[in-house]
C-alpha cells in the first residue's frame, strides 16, 4: 500500500515543479533571472506584481477575462438546462442526431473558426466586446454543459417529476424549486467546466478583441513577444491566472471526478 501511493506522489511533484518555477520567478528581479539559475529568489521582490496591479492595461486584462468568462458560464448553463432536461426526459424528432451534432462542435479546431469568427462578429458590430467572446465560447461550452447536465438529470428518477405534477406543481415551479436543487451538484460541475474552458482558451479570445475587451491571455502574449527580457513580469501575470481556477476548483473538489463519469457516451 505504502509503495503504491508513491506513484501519485511523484506525479503530483512533477505537476507542481513548473508551477513552482513560475511562482519563484515572479518574485525575482530581471537581473537575477538573467544572471543564472537560482532555486529560490535571492532578492525577493514584489515589483512584478506591483506593475500588474498599477498598470491598467495589465489589470484590465484580468477584469475583461473575468467578465466574459462569467457571462459565458451563466449563459451556457442557463440555456443548457432546459435542453439537457429535454434530452434526458423526452424523445423527439431527431433527438439523437441533434445530441451528436452538438458534441461534434466540441471537435471543431478553434483554428478553423478563428477567421470566420472575426468576420462574423465584425459584421454584426460586436467585435472587441465581452459579449463576442462570451458568445463564441458557447460553441464548445454549451455542448459540454448539455452533456454533463444530461448525465446528472438522467440519474434522477422520472417518478420525481410525476409526483410533483400530481402534487399540482406547474412545470416552471417544479423545475426551479424541486428539480434544480436535486441536481445542484451537476449544475456546479457544468459551471466549473464552462468556467475552465472559457478561462483557458486564448485563440478565439485574442482574435475577437483588440483594445476594450482584451483578455489577460492576449495581454500576456504581446508582452512575451515584445520582450523576452521581462520574464519576471510574465511569470507574475501567469501566476495570477492560476488563482481564479484554483478558487473555483476548490468549491467543486468533491464533484469533479463525478462530472464526466455520469455523462453518457
Amino acid at each position: 500500500m505504502r509503495k503504491r501511493s508513491l506513484i501519485p506522489l511523484v506525479y503530483i511533484l512533477f505537476l507542481l515543479l513548473p508551477i513552482y518555477w513560475l511562482l519563484a520567478m515572479s518574485f525575482k528581479t530581471t537581473n537575477e533571472i538573467l544572471a543564472g539559475f537560482t532555486l529560490f529568489p535571492q532578492t525577493f521582490t514584489l515589483a512584478n506584481y506591483r506593475t500588474i496591479f498599477t498598470d491598467p492595461t495589465w489589470y484590465w486584462g484580468y477584469i475583461n477575462s473575468i467578465i466574459y468568462v462569467s457571462i459565458n458560464t451563466v449563459l451556457s448553463v442557463l440555456v443548457a438546462l432546459p435542453a439537457a432536461y429535454a434530452f434526458s426526459r423526452y424523445r423527439f424528432l431527431g433527438d439523437k442526431h441533434l445530441f451528436f451534432w452538438l458534441l461534434t462542435n466540441r471537435m471543431a479546431p478553434a483554428a478553423v473558426f478563428a477567421l470566420p469568427f472575426f468576420q462574423l462578429y465584425s459584421a454584426i458590430g460586436l467585435f472587441d466586446t465581452h459579449i463576442a467572446v462570451a458568445l463564441a465560447h458557447c460553441l464548445f461550452n454549451i455542448p459540454l454543459a448539455v452533456w454533463i447536465l444530461e448525465g446528472f438529470m438522467s440519474s434522477v428518477p422520472k417518478e420525481l417529476d410525476e409526483t410533483a405534477y400530481v402534487d399540482g406543481y406547474s412545470f416552471p415551479r417544479f423545475f426551479v424549486t424541486i428539480f434544480l436543487p436535486t441536481i445542484k451538484a451537476g449544475v456546479g460541475v457544468a459551471a466549473f467546466f464552462c468556467f475552465m474552458f472559457s478561462w483557458v482558451e486564448m485563440l478565439l479570445a485574442k482574435t475577437l478583441t483588440a483594445v476594450y475587451a482584451k483578455p489577460i491571455v492576449a495581454t500576456m502574449t504581446r508582452t512575451a513577444s515584445s520582450a523576452g527580457y521581462e520574464l519576471g513580469l510574465l511569470a507574475a501575470a501567469g501566476t495570477l491566472t492560476i488563482i481564479p481556477g484554483a478558487i473555483v476548483i476548490y468549491f467543486v473538489r468533491n464533484y469533479i471526478a463525478k462530472g464526466f463519469a455520469l455523462g453518457r457516451v
Binding site: L139, M202, I249, R253
Partner: protein
C-alpha cells in the same frame, strides 16, 4: 423509458440557436472561401475543388498532418496508460483524496498560453529549472530552440503535464464506482491482481475511458496554443503542427482559399476518427 414529446424542441431551441449561430455561419463562410479564389480588393472567383486538390497534394500539408498525427499518437500512448496507472495507485478514500484531485486538476485550469509560457521559462537553458538541470547538472545538451528532438520531447512532456490528469480523474471516477464486493469476490475466486484489473477494473472503466480517449484525441489533434507559444513551430518547421500551419496560412498570409479548404479537411479528419472510435468502442453495448 423516455416519452415522446415533440414540444421538447422548444427546450432545445435556445441551445440550437446559439450553437448554430456559432457553428453554421462560420462553417458556411469557410465552405464559401474554400471554393473561391481572390486577388485582393474583395474580388472572388469560383475555383471549384481546386484548393482541395492543391492541399491534398501539397507536401507542406502532408508534413504538417504527419506531425499532428505523430503528436496525437505519442500523447495518447503516454497519457492513457500513465493515467490508468496513477488512477489505480490513488487511495480510494480519506483526507488525501480531495487534496490529490485538486492538485492534479490544477494544470488543466491554467490558460493555454500561460502553459506554453510557463514551460518556456521552465526549459530555458542556463536559467530555467529543467534547462539548467539537464545541461549543467546532468550534462545532457538540451536546447529546444536549436534541437528538433529536444523541441519534440518538450511539447510532448508539456502535454503530458497538462492533460494526463484528465485521464486520471475520469479513470478514478470509474474505479471508485466499483463496489467492494467485486474485489472480495475476486479474492475468494483466487484472481491475481492482473486478472482483477483485466476482468473487473478495466470493464468498469470502459465508459469513462472511452470519454477520456475521445476528449484527448479531439483536443490533442486540435492543439494549437501551447506548442505555438512554446516553440513557435520551430526549430525550422519541426514542430509546425497542422493547426499551427493553418493559422499561419489563414491569419499570417491571408491565403483564405487554401486555409479554408485545409480547415475543412482538418475538421473532416477529426470527425471521422472520433466517429470511428466511438462506433468501435460502443459496438458491444448495443447488442
Amino acid at each position: 423509458m423516455r416519452s415522446v414529446n415533440q414540444k421538447a424542441w422548444f427546450f432545445v431551441l435556445p441551445v440550437l440557436v446559439l450553437v448554430a449561430f456559432n457553428a453554421l455561419i462560420p462553417i458556411m463562410t469557410v465552405v464559401n472561401y474554400s471554393v473561391q479564389e481572390t486577388f485582393g480588393n474583395n474580388q472572388f472567383f469560383w475555383h471549384g475543388l481546386g484548393w482541395f486538390q492543391d492541399i491534398l497534394q501539397s507536401d507542406r500539408f502532408r508534413a504538417a498532418l504527419g506531425r499532428q498525427v505523430l503528436f496525437t499518437v505519442m500523447v495518447l500512448a503516454i497519457q492513457v496508460p500513465l493515467g490508468i496507472v496513477i488512477a489505480l495507485a490513488m487511495p480510494r478514500k480519506g483526507f488525501w483524496v480531495p487534496v490529490c484531485l485538486v492538485l492534479m486538476a490544477l494544470p488543466m485550469l491554467i490558460p493555454w498560453n500561460v502553459v506554453g509560457a510557463m514551460w518556456n521559462i521552465f526549459t530555458l537553458p542556463k536559467i530555467g529549472m529543467m534547462g539548467y538541470f539537464l545541461n549543467d547538472v546532468l550534462g545532457i545538451r538540451y536546447d529546444m530552440t536549436q534541437d528538433p528532438v529536444a523541441a519534440w520531447v518538450t511539447i510532448v512532456v508539456m502535454d503530458v503535464w497538462h492533460w494526463t490528469s484528465l485521464v486520471v480523474l475520469l479513470c478514478y471516477a470509474g474505479l471508485v464506482s466499483i463496489p467492494d464486493a467485486y474485489y472480495q469476490a475476486a479474492k475468494i475466486d483466487g484472481a491475481s491482481p492482473w486478472k482483477v484489473f483485466r476482468y473487473i477494473q478495466l470493464p468498469k472503466m470502459k465508459t469513462v475511458l472511452t470519454i477520456a480517449i475521445l476528449l484527448r484525441f479531439m483536443d490533442s489533434f486540435n492543439v494549437y496554443t501551447e506548442p505555438f507559444v512554446l516553440t513557435g513551430g520551430g526549430p525550422g518547421n519541426s514542430t509546425t503542427l497542422l493547426s499551427i500551419d493553418l493559422v499561419k496560412i489563414a491569419l499570417g498570409q491571408f491565403d483564405l482559399g487554401p486555409a479554408a479548404a485545409m480547415s475543412l479537411i482538418y475538421f473532416a479528419i477529426t470527425l471521422l476518427v472520433s466517429w470511428l472510435f466511438y462506433t468501435l468502442m460502443t459496438k458491444d453495448d448495443r447488442r
